[in-house]
């Protein structure tokens, strides 16, 4: 038996099919992954993401510390609650993890992946020694993502005393109310909130959301939603050996100011100068069949790549994937599926945003 979140009993009560997920017993679906996916695109669904790791950073040199360990520049955060997506890189420019940083009132909150918790904390603790700053993990906090076109309205109904604050949140902003924290962020390509809640209060919150018509949604739908939204999954689409330039994360690297010496910068500059060897692209297969991670991608006259994440897209009704391919890959490729080469198209991601197809 793995670790359980404070919502484990709620998952059983909702008929959740429990699987091992990075050492945690988590619901993969509650009956139908496809239906849960569609509910998030059309109405409102919720995910237990309490397995994710919350780390708070404080102290006089908290900003300087984050500017050293993160490729994006936290000083860009202009107001309290504003969030930033960034990679945390090793000296070779590889992605140790991807995370969100929120600027709080004199301190910072980060949310990192669960599967990378140990190595992230080891790295962050090692680097913080040179700074007058502290790092505090917050395992006593649970986290629920409520996502979909009606998600914010339904959370406002359930947390009516906070409705004004929730209504004023800008996209990619989060604000605390006591130990609660409401952020207008997500991993689905829909509007919605990620809400940090004290573990002791989360079951009651979850049940109130069910009463308000928010559907429990499993990690299976979370994966198809994020892939349609063109969002990377750590461990699939990038890892310690892949730079952000090879993972569609170039926009998260803050090159200016030029004298900000973040970890990995020199390696990224060297990679840019030498030529980036590969890139992450979107692939669509409009005929039958489903692309799966690790399938080979063959680009005629150029070389070979690999599917990093592949699935059936419930919104588009055909298969979509991310693949790492040679940098010069154009608009066509072939996927090796079950011993045959199947023609597919290379497209610009995302595939779906706010319920609608967006690529050409």
């Amino acid at each position: 038996m793995g670790k359980q979140t404070p919502l484990y009993q709620q998952h059983l009560d909702a008929n959740g099919k429990i699987v091992d997920f990075g050492g945690w017993d988590m619901p993969i679906h509650y009956g139908s992954q496809l239906q849960e996916h569609n509910v998030v695109r059309e109405d409102a669904g919720m995910f237990d993401v309490s397995h994710m790791t919350i780390v708070d950073i404080a102290g006089p040199e908290a900003l300087a510390y984050l500017q050293k360990i993160l490729a994006n520049d936290v000083s860009k955060l202009g107001f309290t609650g504003k969030a930033l997506y960034t990679g945390m890189l090793n000296e070779e420019g590889g992605v140790i993890d991807d995370l969100i940083v929120y600027k709080m009132d004199g301190w910072y909150r980060t949310v990192v992946n669960c599967g990378t918790r140990e190595k992230d904390l080891a790295w962050m603790n090692k680097q913080i020694a040179a700074f007058d700053a502290t790092l505090t993990e917050r395992p006593e906090l649970a986290m629920v993502a409520v996502q979909g076109p009606n998600a914010i309205e339904k959370v406002k109904q359930v947390r009516s005393e906070q409705a004004d604050l929730i209504g004023e949140l800008k996209v990619f902003q989060g604000l605390p109310v006591g130990e609660w924290f409401y952020a207008r962020t997500g991993y689905t390509g829909e509007d919605g909130l990620e809400i940090i809640v004290p573990a002791a209060e989360v079951a009651e919150f979850w049940e109130a959301l069910i009463a308000a018509g928010v559907a429990p949604t499993g990690l299976g739908a979370r994966d198809t939603l994020r892939l349609e939204a063109g969002m990377n999954l750590y461990g699939n689409d990038m890892d310690d050996s892949i730079s952000p330039l090879q993972a569609g994360m170039g926009w998260t690297i803050a090159w200016e100011p030029a004298d900000r010496d973040f970890i990995g910068r020199k390696a990224l500059e060297a990679q840019k100068a030498a030529g980036i060897p590969s890139k992450l692209v979107g692939i669509v297969l409009e005929t039958r069949g489903v692309m799966r991670s690790h399938q080979k991608v063959v680009i005629e006259g150029i070389g070979e790549g690999e599917i990093t994440s592949g699935t059936f897209s419930p919104t588009l009704q055909h298969s979509i994937a991310m693949a790492r391919v040679p940098y010069d890959t154009g608009s066509e490729c072939n996927i090796e599926m079950r011993g045959k080469l199947i023609p597919a198209r290379v497209v610009k991601m995302p595939f779906v945003r706010n319920g609608k197809k967006v690529f050409e």
Binding site: S32, Q33, R288, G289, V290, R292, F312, P314, R338
Partner: protein
């Protein structure tokens, strides 16, 4: 708990078989198999007229989760396939023993079903 109708025969690769009045044998996948696969999104069926040996992989089921082969449970000839199923693969989740039959075979050995698992034997396998 899986639904395992007592009037059918079963094989270890989670297909069910039913003898029809004309001696042909209808084949589909079990309730246990569809539940394990999750939402089914594509089904590839064999061609009518194909001669197959038992355990040949002759059809493919793709769910959101994974691709799985469907095996010929017995030796014989494919005499019909369920084209409606290829157009509406979700039927394999909804009605695995009814509308969602996969194909019909003319068995090489007319008595082949006698040696296959009963519902009781299959239920024990699924535990």
């Amino acid at each position: 708990m899986s639904n395992i109708p007592t009037e059918l025969k079963y094989v270890e690769s989670h297909e069910w078989l039913r003898k029809e009045a004309d001696g042909t044998i209808t084949v589909g996948i079990t309730d246990f198999a569809q539940a394990a696969l999750g939402d089914i999104v594509f089904i590839e069926l064999p061609e009518v007229g194909t001669e197959v040996e038992a355990d040949d992989d002759i059809a493919v089921v793709e769910s959101v989760k994974a691709a799985s082969d469907v095996y010929a449970p017995i030796a014989g000839k494919i005499v019909a396939v369920n084209e409606d199923l290829a157009d509406a693969p979700e039927k394999a989740n909804e009605d695995p023993y009814g509308d969602a039959w996969f194909f019909r075979m003319e068995p090489t050995d007319p008595n082949v079903l006698d040696g296959l698992m009963s519902a009781e034997d299959y239920a024990a396998k699924c535990e």
